[in-house]
Amino acid sequence: MTQTTESPPTRETPAVAPMSALWPVIALLALAAAQAFGFLTSPPDRDMGHLQKIMYVHVPAAWNAFLAFVVVFGGSILYLWKRDERWDLLAAAAAEVAAVLTALTIALGSIWGRPTWGVWWTWDPRLTSTAILLVIIVGYLALRSFVDEPERRARWSAAVGILGALNVPIVYMSVRWWRTLHQPQSLPSTVDPAYAWGLRLNAIAFLVLMIWLVRARYRAATLERMRERADEREALGRP
């Protein structure tokens, strides 16, 4: 059995950082302000009309989902390196947030695609690789839920997290080639300056939101680990 770093068992709850109560307030205010800014300043799009407003949630969610994947990758590597369970809990928290944001990205993309492209789903490279990322991260979360022993769960999910991250560029390349070999799909990826600031502000608001969510899930994961440890001690008959 490998030694893992554990927090001292006497402490009943993790220390609450002084800022933590403020995060949800800041996140929700920032989000409301950025959304209002986007809605009020941007003119209706020539082709899409007000449908364009979906962009202010869709694109920031996608960017921050990607950022959350990077946190999963980093946390996994740091866990295997340092064997400090906090890195594992951070990777787990980021994976949950990544799953939610990726699902949100796909759902909104689909809602936007229906009136714009006329279909709910199309085998566009970016859409398809996002869907593959979602199933990879769901596999990671499934593994976590199936393994009860915390140290083993941490090692295994770190390995799965690293392999999943290595697959991201391969997934993207393969899907892009696959599509271009059939029929090229062009997306208007340039954004008119009228929408740029709304997009930037919403990206920042989503970043704050993501940090809040990851922190909250990290704290929940830490508490769960403490409860698991308390149960273990009780089962062993120790005070």
Partner: protein, 228 residues
């Protein structure tokens, strides 16, 4: 670890797994039957349209390989799990990667043998001319199977040791295999047709890249997966 010692451990591990399989045969027969029934059912699902089947043949063949082959991986850790033999194996001094390499080699031979039966069945059912492009087809099958078996053997080391292992393995394995599926089907199509656009080489390179990336990653991290 000295290369000679590592090699002999890898071969001993693979030989042990293959001998168990050869004496039992039940696993091999079940996987071959699963492959054959999948090919048959795809035929029924896509209707009696021979032309449509021939167009879809490369994709159906690879799906059959992945769906039936995935049954083999959890089995490969079962014998060790039952008698607690894995703990004894882990007590041996030296690196643990030869355990993985041995199982990988045994699974690779196992799945290639399954393909040696299912591919001819597919050729008959879907009317694919396999004899002329045989060397190319064999090469593509080998490259695709290598990547498939690498990840399958690796994830089964985890999945075979949890409850609900039949569910967990596909959940972990299949999402990771999508790029391999795309590249393998692309390469197989290129080999089977005359490949007028010359896409085959690009797909074969992608398969090789997939194999190299994941062979390296699994060998480097297997220690963390198997450790108790």
């Amino acid at each position: 670890m000295r290369p000679r010692l590592a090699l002999s451990r890898v071969l001993a591990m693979a030989w042990k797994d293959l001998t168990t399989e050869r004496r039992g045969k039940a696993g091999f027969n079940a996987v071959v039957f699963m492959g054959a029934i999948t090919l048959l059912m795809f035929g029924f699902a896509l209707g009696p349209d021979a032309a449509a089947l021939r167009t879809a043949a490369a994709g159906l063949l690879w799906l059959t390989v992945l769906l039936s082959g995935a049954l083999a991986f959890n089995r490969s850790y079962e014998s060790e799990a039952e008698a607690g033999a894995m703990d004894a194996l882990l007590l041996y001094p030296g690196s643990r990667w030869p355990i993985f390499a041995g199982k990988l080699l045994a699974n690779l031979i196992f799945v290639l043998l399954v393909e040696a039966i299912t591919v001819p069945i597919a050729a008959v059912l879907y009317d694919i001319p396999v004899l002329t492009p045989l060397p190319g087809l064999a090469g593509v099958l080998f490259l695709g199977t290598l990547g498939f078996v690498t990840l399958g053997t690796y994830y089964a080391a985890m999945a075979s040791r949890v409850r609900a292992r039949e569910v967990l393995l596909p959940l972990l394995l299949f999402p990771m295999l999508i790029p391999l599926l795309v590249a393998a089907v692309g390469a197989t199509k290129a080999v089977l047709t005359s490949d007028p656009m010359g896409y085959g080489a690009a797909w074969i390179k992608m398969l090789a890249a997939f194999d190299i990336v994941f062979l390296a990653a699994t060998f480097l991290t297997f220690e963390y997966v198997i450790e108790e």
